[in-house]
Amino acid sequence: MDSGKVKFFLGEVLRNFTRNTGMQMTAIGTVAITIVLLGLFLFVRAAVADAGRQFLDQISVSAYLRADATPAQADAISHFLAQDPRVASVQFVPKKQALAELRQRTQGTIDTALLTENPLPDKFRIKARVTEDVPAIADSVRRLSGVENVVYGQKLVARMLQLGAVLRRVGIAVIVVFFAVAGIIISNTIRLTVFARRREIAIMQLVGATSTYIRLPFICEGLLDGFIGALFAVALLAIARATLWPRLLEALPWAQIAVTPIDPRVLAAELLLVGAAIGVLASWISVGRHLRT
């Protein structure tokens, strides 16, 4: 390894990087903001997905039996469900128990004492192993004799999925905009450096430096902008996670979000990579534009 060569190259990169500190800070700041947003987005998305999953996991299918269903029919249903590999558990809820549960749940709001007879049917409470199988299980149970009706909160499930999709779309739009802004600012920063160094570039071209060699220091500068910006962002996110996140969990106990919906080390690595990539891409484009003309 030619250490003199490396030293010369690093010296060139450092000189570029320190030539226009103000612009460099702007570029780094913009990348940092972009990456923080991206990190938040990925985190919130993971949290929402996680919460949604837990919520969906709790969804059970209720198969209500006809009032005239015989115990033999109920046994057949129970047997059928027990053999279905998609089903995690089956619980028979006789009407008495259903009424008791209802009383408990609606305590104080509905006076169940007014009921002269139990209007509730017997039912099976079925849990699926995988939430996605819920509609199929519901369908197969509906066809069994003795079953009056099957309910599993269809609308709620659809809502959840829809909400997730909207969140994702808005998030992606915001992030695309910020990526564009960060890209443009880095590319302008590099263009300033290119402009400041146009004489050197001209001489490099004159003495026969390859365009790859000429590009390299600028690419490194963009890489530094992107990487340092991402580093700041990751630090900020880490601080936010350590301080704000526990409080948020405390404030929203019902949200049922896992403490760590996404592995922070993986997220940090991804964000650093993304930051470096924006920097490289933006500088590649702006140097290329200069060299072609």
């Binding site: 030619d2 250490s3 003199g4 060569k5 010369f8 004489r199 050197e200 001209a202 001489i203 490099m204 071209q205 004159l206 003495v207 026969g208 430096a209 390859t210 365009s211 060699y213 000429i214």
Partner: protein, 236 residues
């Protein structure tokens, strides 16, 4: 070493800078390109190091077909050439040493070779004692000598000079001219575009005169002004 056949150069704005130029320059030649401003001297040099691309004709430089050269092969061509300009084109924030070494470093030379070659060319141009000075601390002649050292550091077979004495006083002009001659005597082919009459007349070398983008005369041991040379050769 250098050969142009039927070379024309029309710039995008329609200006015809060179028109059917035929020129042969042998290895080890010393050639003056003379002519008034705008007659195509610089354009001709620019074609040789492929800063400009000929519109028609064949150009061969050190065995390389420059007119057909692909973009990514231009650096290879330029490593065979040294180019010197009127305005020196030195980097003001680098020392003499760094300016010269720069040409090697950016073409991927090994540090060992840089350390060996830079003192050699600085000695040749007589600037060893000023290697740590910056261009701003040097006279015009010294700056041009630095530029020549940079052009020579990669051992080119051809040195192209575009008005090398254009910014210099007579004393420095003499000094630079003598240096170019010395370089030529070491075997480097030297092509100098100039309109410095004194230099041309004192040197008595081959003089190629351009008029309106065409070669009007080509004289061995010529003078700046037409027809005073000892023999007239038609090239091409």
């Amino acid at each position: 070493m250098i050969s142009l056949r039927g070379v024309s150069l029309v710039y995008p704005n329609g200006v015809r800078a060179l028109d059917n130029v035929n020129l042969e320059i042998a290895k080890g030649d010393f050639v003056f390109l003379v002519g008034d401003s705008g007659t195509g001297k610089s354009s001709l040099l620019r074609l040789l190091y492929r800063e400009a691309k000929s519109t028609t004709g064949e150009i061969t430089v050190d065995g390389i077909r420059v007119d057909r050269l692909r973009r990514n092969r231009i650096p290879a061509l330029r490593r065979h050439l040294g180019v010197v300009f009127q305005d020196f084109k030195l980097l003001v924030d680098k020392t003499v040493w760094e300016n010269v070494a720069f040409a090697m470093q950016v073409t991927g030379a090994h540090t060992r070779d840089v350390m060996r070659q830079v003192p050699r060319v600085l000695d040749l141009v007589g600037l060893s004692h000023k290697s740590r000075m910056y261009p701003g601390e040097l006279s015009g002649g010294e700056q041009q000598r630095t530029a020549i050292a940079r052009a020579l550091v990669n051992n080119p077979k051809i040195l192209l000079c575009d008005e090398p004495t254009g910014n210099l006083d007579p004393a420095n002009t003499t000094e630079i001219t003598a240096l170019l001659l010395r370089i030529n005597l070491k075997g480097t082919t030297v092509v100098v575009a100039t309109h410095n009459q004194a230099v041309v007349d004192r040197m008595r070398r081959r003089v190629v005169r351009l008029e309106d983008g065409r070669i009007s005369t080509d004289e061995e041991r010529g003078y700046y002004y037409l027809g005073l040379g000892e023999s007239q050769v038609l090239s091409g």
